[in-house]
Symmetry: C2
């Protein structure tokens, strides 16, 4: 009869590290077959693991029998609390596709990409999760570097493949197209002096958005001015001189809704009427964009659809097979009609709908 | 030498269920020693588990050796996307106290309390988590009923003990005191017709807040009118007749920031100036409260402090011991000075600071 009340004490990598006289990081590196561990140390770790009877923990089996488990490791070091809404809405969308009986998706919060990478390394060693989801991708993101060397199945939300392993699935929001729409819209209204309050230059997405806006405006002979806007303090510091200058822009585009609210606030303080003196476009639509005065013209943000695409990508990453009748398939929405190359799936591109035009945009003031 | 590449296939409760010819729920009930399973079925399940060599999975060991694991199961069926920000900010606060090397806290999203209860039951059976955190407590919450019958260590955020097991830790935000402040503030400004757009009556916290506001106003001889406000559609439907009536309130209090934004919007459409015709108080401060026009007087919401208290409660629940020099201890902030009774810890009460007064409140219009 099994004893359900006191499960047998199983050795962990902490025990192996202690027995081998090394750190848990060295144990993790060794057990994952990664480079950087000397042959002697490797031998000592493997002998300790063998003598203790260490076995990878239970998560891997669930890939075959129970619900597969994947982890979304969020890096939470952004100053704006509202940013945190994104991962949970994404998970809700993913659950609509996969259902908790097929797959469970745990969200963990790390203070930095390096912390997240360390956790993913440990959990992969312990076979706690069968795949990882990465959102809010940074420039030189430590999480992607860790995943590349493990290597683990992964869903990367927000970036296209750039030489990552074939076991990675990519889900991309077509926000380049959306910001191109913003550029065309402002040019057609007659604006010639346009500025963008950029999002964090540490993140991949804001850089891509600013480039798309700049490129669309350049097509109309308009040069985009870009100012730093990473966090409310930097945005406010950049906005005051920008909007107080004689050659101030007649339209300002932001990377997110909270920064657009700051633009409204600074304009109000400087006595600039929105939209007649200044047009404002928010980078990401949200309930807050509707509640400001005036309400904000904004780029739609189909986060639940992004979540559903992430759920489908997760099924593929975990080998659970596609969902029948499901929305964007790999390659849908990409502009090239080329067949996917063997072994590497093209990203799942989630289209962004038409710009939501509200009260914050109008033709520029007459000269 | 251990074979790291292919962990042994271990039987799961799905296998046990198949062998015994019952559902996984029946297996879970049996293995957790819960009532409602016949003796014959129980015997069949236990024999199948024994023959298959089923053992609880590995998570419990981490309580002794590695980082302990707890799960926060969020129920995400609210219409406002901004609500989702709360759990991640809470987790960030908790991580400030516990650190991922001591404890990992996974956030799962369920579509209903019943779904969440089912997941917690399964994970407890599999020993995947050593404790659970429950936020956004509902009236008759299926998650608390499930935890009560397992029974698992739990941290319940937002409600005081009501006869739950002594293994539960309670973390309470003192928002009753905060809403009493709102009542006193409005009475002192001279308001006599006050309405509250209530939050969801399915949740415990909004009901408590409305009661605290009503009680504070009653102390000044003012009767509170309460209208339904669960979700933007119901709030909008209730607000139009409320604010269009001849005896309309001179001050409206809401349960959250998004609903306060709706009040500003409806007032604008009806030609009511805020604050000179109508004062508005938002139930939960957030960046959005600062960005509206006028900016919103709001109740502070110390979510990171709530997270730190949750982290300390989790350490206690998992037997990890208190953190030295940490903030509110059990019983801090409670009005009674009584010593805690043996076996049941008083809730950790997180104080709410002074009301944040901004541009949306003023004395009522002269009659």
């Amino acid at each position: 009869m099994p004893d359900y009340s006191s499960p047998a004490r199983r050795p962990t990598i902490v025990d192996v590290a202690r027995a081998a006289g090394v750190s848990t990081a060295v144990v993790s590196y060794t057990l994952n077959g990664r480079r950087g561990v000397s042959a002697a140390t490797r031998e000592r770790v493997l002998r300790a693991a063998d003598e203790l009877g260490w076995r990878p923990a239970s998560a891997a089996r669930s890939l075959r029998s129970g619900p597969a488990a994947a982890a979304l490791v969020v890096v939470h070091d952004q100053p704006f609390g509202t940013r945190a809404a994104f991962p949970l809405d994404l998970v809700t969308g993913a659950l609509q596709t996969i259902g908790p009986d097929t797959l469970t998706l745990a969200v963990h919060v790390a203070g930095s990409p390096a912390d997240a990478a360390r956790l993913m390394d440990r959990w992969w060693t312990e076979r706690r999760y069968g795949a990882f989801v990465v959102t809010g991708v940074r420039v030189d993101d430590a999480r992607l570097a860790a995943l590349r060397s493990l290597p683990a199945p992964a869903v990367v939300v927000g970036t296209a493949p750039d030489g990552g392993p074939a076991t990675w699935q990519h889900v991309v929001l077509d926000d380049g197209a959306a910001f191109a729409q913003v550029g065309a819209f402002l040019a057609e209204l007659g604006h010639r002096r346009v500025a963008m309050v950029a999002g964090s230059e540490r993140l991949v997405a804001p850089v891509r958005r600013a480039a798309a806006l700049g490129s669309a405006l350049a097509g109309h002979g308009i040069e985009l001015r870009t100012v730093a806007g990473d966090g409310p303090e930097r945005a406010a510091a950049a906005l005051l001189p920008l909007l107080a200058a004689a050659d101030r822009p007649t339209a300002v585009v932001t990377d997110d809704d909270a920064t657009a609210g700051l633009v409204l606030d600074v304009a109000r303080r400087l006595g600039l009427g929105v939209p007649w003196d200044l047009s404002v476009v928010a980078g990401t639509d949200s309930p807050a964009c509707y509640l400001t005065a005036p309400s904000l013209t904004a780029v739609p943000y189909p986060v639940e659809e992004l979540g559903r695409a992430t759920g489908r990508a997760l099924r593929t990453a975990l080998g659970a097979g596609p969902v029948s009748g499901a929305g964007p398939s790999p390659g849908a929405g990409t502009s090239s009609g080329a067949a996917p190359s063997v072994g590497v799936e093209p990203p799942r591109t989630v289209p962004v709908g038409r710009l939501v035009v509200r009260g914050s945009t109008a033709p520029p003031p007459g000269d």
